[in-house]
Symmetry: C2
Subunit: 339 residues, 2 copies
């Protein structure tokens, strides 16, 4: 906080009143006479008074702050989510403390505990990897919490907003089926257990519903650790295996994986969509700018952030809150075509 700042005490001395009167005047308490009130406000202005929010927080038992944990800030998905959260929070007069977990449970917990110490009013955790044992620990902090696309089974104690991964995967695969593809592959990532599992399940469900064959060689799940480029690498590395197994189209866990696959195709001179159709997931900005643009399943990232923030606001006002499972939809791009 650097050098000493002026306080209501300082103003009180100059005005010849009690500091408590200053406090009331500044907060427009009607019991203070208009004359005194104006004088004090004037004085406060002149003296460059800025209320100490920390002292107010201590007294009011409210910090007007929410804590947000994401896997990575630079990840385009989370960047958009945070943008949405901040927008709603700012409009409601709340500030956002932001922390990155880098998919490390320990760091995720550390961030949450840090928020707890700082007495944030609420917490949003995106892509949470907290395991059951830890959940116990976290539950004790009793701060309103909203999970966004949680990677763990939501225990009843937390609110959540998430995307319908099963539906999304089905939309993707059904799209390929409509385009007459019968040899459809899936490239996934194991480090996002739950959503990967759900998308894989949606993939299988769609194939079964269409009476199409499944082949274990058509499914590749990367075991790579999460980094900024790991998903692209996954696409790059897994592509040839599926091609060799004879697929004519691939549903990818997300757009970054799809872009990796696309890059691999360029290297191998496989033309997309002529020789191979590709479908991604997320609809990050990138998806529109690669060539060909990606067919993908859109998650409304900004809206999901807004929604999580709004749920948290409602929780803070003790309104009743309903969990939300948002429906994704298909965005047709240039990376898929009829066989």
């Amino acid at each position: 906080m650097s050098k000493r700042r002026i306080s209501i005490q300082d103003i009180a001395r100059r005005a010849g009143v009690a500091h408590t009167t200053v406090s009331r005047a500044l907060r427009d308490n009607p019991s203070i006479s208009p004359k005194v009130r104006e004088e004090i406000k004037q004085l406060a202005q002149e003296m460059g008074y800025v209320p100490n929010g920390i002292a107010q927080s201590l007294q009011n038992q409210r910090t007007n702050t929410i804590g947000v944990v994401v896997t990575s800030i630079a990840d385009p998905f989370f960047a958009e989510v945070v943008e949405g959260i901040e927008k709603i929070a700012q409009a409601a007069g709340l500030s956002v403390l932001l922390s990155a977990s880098h998919q490390d449970v320990e760091r995720e917990i550390a961030a949450i505990n840090n928020f707890h110490r700082r007495r944030v009013d609420g917490i949003i955790v995106a892509d949470s990897h907290i395991s059951k044992q830890h959940l116990q620990q976290i539950a004790e902090i009793a701060v309103p919490t909203v999970l966004l696309n949680s990677q763990t089974e939501e225990l009843a104690q937390f609110q959540f907003v998430s995307i319908d991964n099963l539906l999304g995967a089905q939309l993707a695969v059904e799209h390929l089926i409509q385009l007459k593809h019968t040899a459809i592959g899936y490239i996934g990532v194991s480090n996002r257990t739950r959503s990967n599992q759900q998308r894989l399940e949606g993939y299988r469900t769609a194939l079964i519903a269409a009476n199409l064959p499944q082949n274990s060689d058509w499914v590749a799940i990367s075991k790579a650790e999460y980094t900024t480029t790991s998903d692209v690498d996954t696409g790059l590395q897994m592509l040839s295996g599926l091609i060799n197994a004879g697929v004519t189209s691939i549903f990818c866990y997300n757009d970054m994986v799809a872009i990796g696959a696309l890059l691999a195709c360029q290297k191998l001179s496989i033309s997309v969509p002529q020789e191979l159709s590709l479908v991604g997931f997320d609809d990050i900005a990138l998806a529109r700018y690669v060539t060909p643009s990606l067919t993908t399943v859109r998650q409304p990232m900004l809206e999901m952030g807004c929604c999580a923030a709004q749920m948290l606001l409602d929780l803070l006002q003790e309104k009743s809150v309903e969990n939300r499972v948002l429906s994704p939809f298909l965005v047709a791009g240039g990376s898929s075509r009829q066989i």
Copy 2:
């Protein structure tokens, strides 16, 4: 802060000591006997005590928090910058309050004032648009502040880290000159006054140094307002004008503009780099994934964030701090080739 949490008072009562003893024990004050200290720590643990950071902040006159203002969180450039800032801050035990200004001076100022109220220990402002009159006002808050790629002339009172735009532009244009281009255009954006001006100047300097012609029809500066897609739109819209004016290559204000230009080329069936060479600026992840990949001038975004955060840390420890002007460098991609 929701329900009442346990305090050192609660622990003190249970332990039969003064709360001040609890405070000391918990902070490993050597004057407390080992026995008592352990008992208290044990008790605190059992009771699930979590120190109230707000109260500590008030007492210590230090919040261990820094405030960060960026134009937009979802912008890939700032997302990386914030990632770097958060990384350094987290390692130093500081938390990050994040706010988006959307290039609105009023919101930028509001964010800074909000940080002031909250008594952050330091502030980082990226892409600041504060005008001189406002600077006055901001200067009064007397919080250690670091500007990152400021769009206003730095007054001596603030520390800063920035990129050498002049050099970057020269590198870009010299690259095109080396490739035998003689009709070289520039597409810029007016809403980032200073960096646009500097890049334009670097462009001109390079042309003059090489004795190449300049043509006012070869330079297009968009007046669009800043949005998530405005830079891409700029590239999209400005391209044809320059093509008609006969350029064989274009240096773009940044990668998003270059990608817009690239998309326009695709629409107009102009092949890049065969018929037109394109050079961007920034080297955002996107640049590597479009086709062809972009030749661009790399700003080390992550490092710039880290650097700004480190400078702020040094300021907080009252170390002497030197402003930094980082040098960008050319990254050759597939979007440029010899004429």
